[in-house]
């Protein structure tokens, strides 16, 4: 604890000494990022910052000079002037000139940022409480679709009562606490990628600082934006619009790969999807379903219905001991999970999860925490869709 405070004080002093080499610049200033857009935005930011600093020095300088020289204790006698039209005109015109000279580059950057034409590929991003869904709708990789949530170890470490403090988090996760996901969104470098952003429940906002922008994902709207990433790497971001309880826990990870590596990734993904589709037709053993179901439940349902199935009544109902999770007829539960309950936080999972995943999750719910409902096979989900 002492060393933490010492580090805080150290960071402060170094920060105050105009970001000396000790403090990482990235922790004090906007990141330059890895796209032409982010560079332009960074330059704009630095330009306005310096304009403000210079105006600040002039205004505060005059003020401090007056406070030191024109004080009664120094024997200053008050002048009685109280008007000067010339001065008023000067300090109206000069700011206008400065503002216009700032507006011109800002306008140029803005127009370039909003130009989504001629994209090489399109990815649809859907915000959900509290994860992201990515659909590759156009270009290389079209058809790939997956959910992306906070990685499970992080999800456990961030619970109240997990007993975590900064030291433990650093030890366990290094620099990436709350910045890892199970399935990152993978994109090729050097390609113009168009993003379509929307949401299924409440408003979210998709933000990766290294790309230079954020854009709201709004239910019922489809927003557009684009990026072209210069160098391969892992770029991390966060949901930026308050979206409920776990708003702080829906990170974004973009992995940019060279076109060749990207092609390999696409191939692996399509292969995996085909295998998954094939496995939906076979009959699953109960244990396999349960094991998979636990994973699916943890990442997709536990945020609301809790790991123990007890929910948080009245906002989120318990699934443990709930009649809907018991008995021989699973149809009620299947349709609830497939179609959701419109107007509540219970989303439709049909479009988000595969038949196998849904069957596994439902089976898991129906045979955990004292529930004794019948198991559900992927084929039943397929039939109920």
């Amino acid at each position: 604890m002492k060393s933490r405070i010492a580090r805080g004080v150290l960071a402060l002093t170094t920060g105050l000494l105009a970001g000396s080499a000790l403090a990482e610049w990235d922790l004090l200033n906007m990141r330059k990022g890895v796209t032409s857009t982010s560079h332009e935005v960074h330059d704009l930011h630095m330009m306005i910052l310096w304009v403000c600093v210079v105006i600040g020095i002039v205004v505060f300088g005059a003020m401090i000079y007056a406070m030191l020289k024109h004080r009664k204790s120094k024997g200053a006698v008050a002048a009685q002037f109280h008007e000067s039209t010339t001065m008023e005109i000067i300090w109206t015109i000069i700011p206008i000139v400065i503002l216009v000279s700032m507006a011109i580059p800002a306008t140029k950057t803005l127009l370039a940022m909003e130009d989504v034409s001629d994209a090489d590929m399109t990815i649809k991003v859907t915000g959900l409480q509290w994860k992201w869904k990515y659909d590759y709708v156009d270009g290389e990789g079209a058809g790939i679709s997956f959910l992306s949530s906070l990685a499970p170890e992080h999800n456990e470490a961030r619970l109240l009562g997990a007993g975590m403090d900064e030291a433990k988090l650093r030890e366990k996760f290094g620099q990436t606490y709350l910045r890892d996901v199970d399935n990152p969104v993978v994109v090729p470098t050097g390609k113009k990628i168009r993003f379509l952003l929307t949401a299924a429940d409440v408003i979210h906002s998709w933000w990766v600082p290294d790309l230079g922008w954020k854009k709201d994902a709004i239910p019922g709207f489809v927003n557009e934006s684009w990026t072209r990433i210069d160098k391969p790497g892992v770029y991390r971001g966060k949901c930026a619009e308050l979206c409920g309880k776990d708003h702080g826990f829906m990170p974004i990870v973009v992995v940019a790969k060279s076109p060749a590596d990207y092609a390999a990734w696409v191939q692996a993904q399509t292969g995996a999807a085909a295998a998954e589709a094939a496995s939906a037709d076979k009959i699953w053993a109960a244990d396999d379903l349960l094991a998979k179901g636990e994973q699916v439940y943890k990442t997709n349902c536990a945020a609301c219905h809790q790991l123990t199935g007890t929910g948080v009544p009245p906002a989120f109902p318990a699934l443990a001991g709930n009649p809907i999770s018991n008995g021989d007829d699973p149809m009620g539960q299947i349709t609830t999970v497939l179609n959701g309950r419109p107007g509540t936080a219970m989303a439709a999972y049909g479009p988000m999860l595969s038949d196998v995943e849904l069957a596994a999750a439902i089976t898991y719910v129906r045979s955990s925490w004292g529930n004794s409902g019948s198991a559900v096979q992927p084929a039943e989900i397929k039939a109920a869709r």
């Binding site: 933490r4 805080g8 004080v9 402060l12 920060g15 922790l27 004090l28 105006i55 600040g56 205004v59 005059a62 003020m63 007056a66 406070m67 024109h70 004080r71 009664k72 008050a78 009685q80 002037f81 109280h82 000067s84 001065m87 008023e88 300090w91 700011p95 503002l99 507006a103 800002a106 950057t109 803005l110 009562g161 975590m164 900064e166 433990k168 606490y177 709350l178 429940d201 409440v202 408003i203 933000w207 600082p209 230079g212 922008w213 954020k214 709004i218 927003n223 971001g237 966060k238 949901c239 308050l242 409920g244 309880k245 776990d246 708003h247 702080g248 826990f249 009245p314 906002a315 936080a345």
Partner: protein, 526 residues
């Protein structure tokens, strides 16, 4: 009118009723002003306690103290209390105390409505706070109440909406009273262009309030019917539009931020000349600047919504309009500096707070100018950079002006001098800690920390700890302020009528403390 025998002729001379009934039934502008100020102070401490909870959770990464839902309700209610419960009532309290004394009137024009508009407030905020004890907890969707998220609130939702309605009604009544008083009750010779700037800025603020509060009331009523009556104003699935709410909200919300700062401009314009012993520089340009800020405040609302996906022409319009506000705001700052220039300055506590205001409000203004640049705002928006910005304008702006005003006029109100040494200590501890609290938040936002999150990644740890330490010190140092005020009300060195050597204006011609009914005979203003 407290005694049945009081006739109209002698009612000027009787003092206030005794005990609790005095405060419940009072129609006196000073009593009501006191009630407003006391209420604001209480709300400031409750809202401040919530800020302490927030800063305690953010002291280090990992979840230690509260769960995320409760954390969200802390930020939401903190903001609602600070804005609607602390800053706005404090300004109304100051208006009540000062406007009649500054324009040479005996009281406010509509005293019974004055009583009513105050007494609505305790009910409104009790309702708001009671939602914490209802199923589903307090509001947790942010003070901006964006649907669909705000509609996910539990049983407390209608109480939240009703509380906002009540607070709005109170503000509107208060504003009507200010306008009617200023336009009808000025002493002979007190032309509009001779009025102290505090009256001017409040007159304009009152118009802003009357224009925007009904807009907020409409927006929250639509939320209410969306939730309970099956309408779909903001529900895309039913043909509505969630972004429409944001447009309506900020059409209220942006003028609202000027409601929170224009009276502050008036206060600073009163204090700086007094302690510079020199008349205010550019009085008429101050009036015109206030009016143009008020006008512009109606056409910039969507700068809070650059990332919702507006057409690019819309983004350009709102960017340009927002940048223009910097011009009249700059004029004000330049005028204050010119007032100080070649003055004969002393730095008693009110002047310290006023100088602190000018510097730190200007810092908030700079970050505001940066936020106006739409492409850069795509990075800044919804990060701690914004949190730093609005706290510089609200805490070191609005709150500092209220503290400055309290120290400045308290000797007039009570007849006693406050403890100058304690006041200075309060100023310096507050100013150092408030910068520890909010300046590092600029770095956090730029480095990528979103706002409204209960937990964060380890690379933000150092600055958050600095910020929390600053927060705890700032919070604790406000107890010095409360103690100083309490001590002054109870007694202390007697203040002269003029109190300050350089003071100028009608209120300083009255005795300290002033008579129960300020000017029973209208003074003549040359």
């Amino acid at each position: 009118m407290t005694t049945a025998t009081a006739t109209h002729d002698d009612h000027h001379d009787h003092g206030p009723a005794k005990g609790l009934m005095r405060w419940i039934t009072t129609t006196n502008h000073k009593d009501i002003g006191t009630l407003y100020l006391l209420f604001a102070l209480i709300m400031f401490f409750i809202g401040g306690a919530m800020a302490m909870v927030i800063r305690a959770e953010l002291f280090q990464p990992g979840m230690q103290i509260v769960d995320p839902q409760f954390f969200n309700s802390m930020t939401t209610v903190h903001a609602l209390l600070m804005i609607f419960g602390a800053v706005m009532p404090a300004f109304t309290g100051l208006a009540n105390w000062l406007i009649p004394m500054q324009i040479g009137a005996p009281d406010m024009a509509l005293p019974r409505m004055n009583n009513f508009s105050f007494w609505i407030l305790p009910f409104a905020f009790t309702l708001l706070l009671s939602t914490f004890f209802m199923s589903g907890g307090g509001p947790a969707g942010g003070w901006t109440l964006y649907p669909p998220l705000s509609l996910q609130m539990g049983d407390g939702f209608p109480f939240l909406i009703f509380a906002i309605h009540l607070a709005g009604i109170s503000s509107i009544m208060g504003s009507i009273n200010v306008i009617v008083t200023i336009l009808n009750m000025r002493a002979p010779g007190m032309t509009l262009m001779k009025m102290p700037l505090f009256c001017w800025t409040w007159l304009i603020t009152a118009y802003l309030l009357i224009a925007t509060m009904p807009v907020l009331a409409g927006a929250v009523t639509m939320l209410l019917t969306d939730k309970f009556a099956g309408t779909s104003f903001f529900n895309a699935a039913g043909g509505g539009d969630p972004v429409m709410f944001q447009h309506i909200f900020w059409f209220f919300g942006h003028p609202e931020v000027y409601i929170l700062i224009l009276p502050a401009f008036g206060i600073i314009s009163a204090i700086v000349p007094t302690f510079a012993r020199k008349p205010l520089f550019g009085y008429s340009s101050m009036v015109y600047a206030t009016a143009s800020i008020a006008f512009l405040s109606f056409i910039v609302w969507a700068h809070h919504m650059f990332t919702v996906g507006m057409p690019v022409t819309g983004e350009l319009f709102f960017m340009y309009a927002t940048m223009m506000i910097a011009v009249p705001t700059g004029v004000k700052v330049f005028n204050w500096v010119s007032t100080m220039w070649k003055g004969s300055m002393t730095f008693e506590t009110p002047m310290l707070f006023a100088v602190g205001f000018i510097m730190m409000f200007t810092i908030g203004g700079f970050s505001g100018l940066m936020l106006a640049i739409a492409p850069a705002d795509f990075q800044y928006h919804d990060t701690y950079f914004v949190v730093a910005h609005f706290h510089y304008v609200l805490v070191t702006g609005a709150i500092y002006s209220i503290m400055a005003a309290t120290y400045y006029w308290l000797p007039k109100w009570t007849g006693n001098m406050y403890d100058e040494r304690l006041g200075k200590i309060h100023f310096w501890i507050s100013t150092i800690s408030v910068n520890l609290l909010f300046f590092p938040q600029h770095f956090l936002g730029l480095a990528g920390m979103p706002r409204r999150i209960p937990d964060y990644s380890v690379q933000f740890a150092d600055w958050n700890m600095v910020s929390s330490i600053g927060g705890f010190i700032f919070g604790a140092s406000q107890l010095l302020f409360a103690y100083n005020v309490y001590k002054t009300v109870k007694g202390g060195k007697k203040a002269t009528d003029k109190v300050w050597e350089g003071a100028d204006g009608l209120e300083w011609t009255l005795s300290s403390p002033p008579p129960y009914h300020s000017f029973t005979e209208a003074p003549v203003v040359k």
